[in-house]
Symmetry: C2
Subunit: 307 residues, 2 copies
């Protein structure tokens, strides 16, 4: 198997995960969560989001979290910003790495941000200009690349087209999202075919997979086989998507780590420390963490044979 | 992608699934479960096991279940038998298709059947002779091919060596089991390399995967890429393995069906009818069914967009 030897994992649990958990966590717990992830070896952590507190109260403490986390040199602490106001708040909080988002379908875009895809992309333009002027790297998320809860199957050209525009606007990397977890490996190949056709180097592409139907790691394998070497995941499998009916489950970081380690692919991240990082918040969520590898790890902690 | 166009699914929920559920189900419910699976289009259903009732009380009603299920022509209704006594009971119950089992490690064999691997294989010899004499096809299971809860990592030659012997003894097909769900695709390739080296045609090999760490469908993909076209799975994700600490979760049939349908691979089986078949027992188990595709299906039953 001719797969990448190293994979970069973008840990999205503190933002994408916690945003979609019903119970908001105390700020101190979030700070310790991010610090524990730093200690586990992540080089990319999406820490929070500068959005309206009335829209996403779970992340209303973004400034305080950014002020108090211990930042390790070489680690990129990302913040999601929806607009210029969010960008300004992020800058005031000393955020050095900006993430923006849009969708591959009008239906999802309207449900998520109230306007269609085209207007949503245009709204990002001033944010990207200002980030460029400030010398801040910007990561772009494209949601519903593989399927949309409002429109069904999505044209495999749609996501790459949006990705191409975001790159042209100044994003350094695009994360293609299977927001409702409907993709199978054949879909990954179709979208990556169109990504290549849009003249996008795969080094600038991340896959953001959900395990809603159990297909996430099969899709990771398909991505690896094409040379994709950046994957988003969420510690413990935190979160889902509040705007997508039936969407539960970001790909769990522990599942991804177990898989990549077994495949002999380096990440620089400790499975055990990641599992311990999510342990700190597990008891506060009101439900078990969905990660399967994490549950298996927990149940074999006292067994003679470790995996 | 050059994958098989058709896959045969061996539905093991009524035996391997229910055997590992704490709450025994009423016999009438099991019969209806098997009948619903027949209607869903399965051609291979592992119905029950003729083992000592004091060891596995969940399946003590095997004879009655076999007597009362509606058998559709062309469908193979399998029974697991551990020894000659079990074989005789199965014959009396009119069973036409026999499954036997052993393991790829001594540690698991001893914990499971009280004797080491070698003695376990020899014990199968009279069963296989009698099945051959009676003209009954025999399927052989090899457990712990990829990892053992007592011995850890398993030599990739171990499972194929046992498989080779079972074929020579008269089995028509061997199911290689990842009993505790530790395999990743690289392991699948290693074992299939050794399977080929043992002169075993892949047409005689099934993969029996567990989703304990979320890797099952990635392993299915690896198997498909090598030409494997028979997979065991359990409706709803019923069952696990009572002798393997931390082992939860046979690969769920719904997850496998969702995956294969998305890949354009034919199975002849209805996803919806399978999901409805497991619905009949879900409320009696005392826990949610682990299938992710099934949960997503259930949550989108009333949504405008169906998957």
């Amino acid at each position: 198997m001719n797969l990448p030897k190293n994979v970069r994992i973008v840990e999205v649990g503190p933002r994408d995960g916690l945003q979609n958990e019903r119970n908001p966590l105390p700020t101190a717990v979030k700070i310790e969560f991010v610090n524990a992830l730093t200690r586990a070896g992540f080089r990319d952590i999406e820490v929070s989001s500068f959005v309206r507190a009335d829209k996403i109260p779970q992340l209303a403490d973004a400034s305080e979290v950014f002020a108090k986390i211990e930042r390790r040199p070489g680690v990129r602490y990302w913040a999601l910003v929806p607009n210029e106001k969010g960008f300004e708040a992020a800058q005031s909080a000393g955020v050095g790495h900006i993430a923006v988002f849009t969708a591959a379908t009008d239906g999802f875009s309207k449900a998520n941000v109230g306007v269609g895809m085209e207007e949503s992309i245009q709204r990002l333009s001033p944010v990207l200009s200002r980030a460029r002027a400030a010398g801040l790297p910007v990561r772009g998320y494209v949601s519903t690349v593989f399927g949309c809860p409002y429109e069904g199957k999505v044209d495999p050209q749609a996501g790459p087209r949006v990705a191409r525009r975001l790159l042209d606007m100044g994003c350094e990397e695009i994360s293609l999202g299977d927001t409702i977890g409907v993709a199978v490996p054949a879909d990954i190949h179709r979208v990556l075919d169109q990504t290549a056709a849009a003249q996008i180097p795969f080094a600038q592409i991340a896959l953001h997979l959900h395990d809603t139907r159990g297909t996430a790691l099969a899709n990771v394998l398909a991505g690896l086989e094409r040379g994709i070497a950046i994957f988003d995941s969420s510690a413990g499998g935190l979160g889902g998507c509040p705007f997508a009916p039936g969407a539960t489950g970001n790909l769990a970081t522990e599942d991804l780590l177990y898989f990549l380690q077994g495949m002999g692919i380096e990440t620089g991240i400790s499975f055990d420390e990641t599992a311990r990082a999510s342990a700190g918040i597990a008891s506060l969520l009101g439900h078990p963490l969905p990660s399967r590898a994490r549950a298996a790890w927990a149940s074999t902690q006292n067994s003679a044979v470790r995996w």
